[in-house]
Symmetry: none
Subunit: 199 residues, 4 copies
Amino acid sequence: MPAEKRRAGRPPATLGKRDVILDAALRCFVERGFHGTSMPDIAERAGIAAGTIYHYFPSKEALVNTLFRTWKAEIAQRVFAAFPQHAPPREQFAIMWRTMADFALKHRDAFAFLELHHHTTYLDGESIAVDRNLKDFAHGIVRRAQADGLLKPVDPNLLMELVFGAFNGMMAAVYDARITLTPAAIAASDEACWDMVSV
Amino acid sequence: MPAEKRRAGRPPATLGKRDVILDAALRCFVERGFHGTSMPDIAERAGIAAGTIYHYFPSKEALVNTLFRTWKAEIAQRVFAAFPQHAPPREQFAIMWRTMADFALKHRDAFAFLELHHHTTYLDGESIAVDRNLKDFAHGIVRRAQADGLLKPVDPNLLMELVFGAFNGMMAAVYDARITLTPAAIAASDEACWDMVSV
Amino acid sequence: MPAEKRRAGRPPATLGKRDVILDAALRCFVERGFHGTSMPDIAERAGIAAGTIYHYFPSKEALVNTLFRTWKAEIAQRVFAAFPQHAPPREQFAIMWRTMADFALKHRDAFAFLELHHHTTYLDGESIAVDRNLKDFAHGIVRRAQADGLLKPVDPNLLMELVFGAFNGMMAAVYDARITLTPAAIAASDEACWDMVSV
Amino acid sequence: MPAEKRRAGRPPATLGKRDVILDAALRCFVERGFHGTSMPDIAERAGIAAGTIYHYFPSKEALVNTLFRTWKAEIAQRVFAAFPQHAPPREQFAIMWRTMADFALKHRDAFAFLELHHHTTYLDGESIAVDRNLKDFAHGIVRRAQADGLLKPVDPNLLMELVFGAFNGMMAAVYDARITLTPAAIAASDEACWDMVSV
DNA sequence: AATGAATGAGGCTTCATTCAT
DNA sequence: GATGAATGAAGCCTCATTCAT
């Protein structure tokens, strides 16, 4: 859940019920996917009755979409907030990489849900629009760095997809315990990905 | 479907019914996922009755697992077959990259199914074992190239996950029409990923 | 709602909440029937919370039964009050016909609810008893008029059912806008129905 | 069920399953209304599993609409078939009255379902169109008889609604056992209703 | 008195699977 | 082998009703 929704220092038991539902749903969706998760599954994990979910969300689809949008906005905001507008591109890249890694380690379920699942069947138009935010932002940065001759002169979209793909692949391996994301590993992956895109 | 599954003597124009089912299932699973696909969905796409599927596969789970193993084996075999055992690492990498891209372009559904979906809920032990094949193979290559001082001296798994992640991200973008995989783009992505892992 | 149900001392401009509920329920039941109407439906139409209904009625069934009895009593009382005990039968009939038409035009929902719906599933014994009132009254009149040789000498129940059926059919058509009930039409239908039962 | 759907002399046990469902649904709807009847209710009465209904009807609504249209068409056809095109109006009326009474006695549930319930919430456009048939037919007859000076010179719709209303009221009383429809009663009601509309 | 969150049973419908033909 | 009718469990969602505030 985005931090501002919880009061700092509160035990999770006193989360608003809406957030409890979102949390439970997130964990279920990550484990079994949208279609593999039933509303009773979510209710059980949230410790409430199945009918209660419908006081907060009109449907299962509305629930996933809320989840998707909330967390997409959250991660985008973190990257935007941390981004050093006037630093050199190499540093910008490093900050972005670390910010994303921080997020993906702190909110494993959220990141796995957002990036490691196919959502096409049930996401609505607005959710898809929200998804563009981060990529449009990255796209602009790539173009400018290319203009400065720092990045490889190829389709900026290709560079972006390679970088985000590498990041996602790395995180998937972390979640499956095939690798461990030590600070050294973060530094190494940052370095490797910069080498991938820079000239 | 890999050709060797057809019974000899059958006219090749008519795929065996078993393969028709596997094809139909593959397309359904890619579009809507395992849990989002019903047996009647598959039957309809295959142009047969729902009950007929059970003459070839004992259950829906057996069907996905067969699909997964068949295609995993297929892609692994292609990479193994194309791999130039005695060429220099840079060329080995390039060949592997192109072989995978060829496959992923030719068998979009199969690749999307294998790499872009979460299978954890329904894959059985044997399928998971098959999945290791390609990665173990790559792991060995990475270790040897590192010993030669050609690759970055970091966790070989990390390098592998970054490379495969980048590849998957690229292909996902291709399937979503965010980029086009021209020969030039293949060459550029090959180059970029080699830069990512090499010293 | 019949006026006598309001508590004295309440400003007449604001219907008592009990009556607001009865009104809202009446309209819902007419539109969608008892089983097709939910308590939240009623609450929404009444502009109150769903729980509030239970301060005035112990259950949905109690609510319909109250509605039924209240309005059945109301219409019966109007007919009784208007009935000219010592006028000739033809005039008695005309008065009754007009009184019923007045009521059915003024309280469309109430009349439609009472006569145009099947209540058998949820009406309790007392409500069914109330229903007999008007029919018993009419039955007595028919018998006396038959004894005077004014009405056809057939089963008095048959005559009654024909007359009330014709009236209900006419009103159903009015509510569906298939006919308009002008004073002339009321006179014509009165005349026709008298011709139906008289010798 | 319309007669032509059953083979003569066959025990009802061999009715097609589709007809078994329609029969069961008819009885349920008559007793408890559309919204008061659940699909499991219908299935139980039909002696089948709930899911089986969906092999024959795509939804509960489709089921009622089929029921409505089938029976409306059936009764209309009977009246049309029996109607003596060239007989004098008085005889035409008598035939129609008897034909309807025959039908309503033989197919109590069907008649009660068609005429004694409010269907507005769930009937689709086509069903409503089918409903017009009989009434349009009657309307034409009324107009012609009025032109001949045989019927009261008032709104033909009013006359029709009175007659059909009287008929429905009579049948409702029959079904509730408040009256018995002997041949004498049929004759008497025919006579009474003719007196209602004729000059 | 009034609210509306909460419940859990039940309604409509879908689905994996079986089996008689 | 092939079919598709049949099943009944399970899924999404609604609803009458209760109860803490």
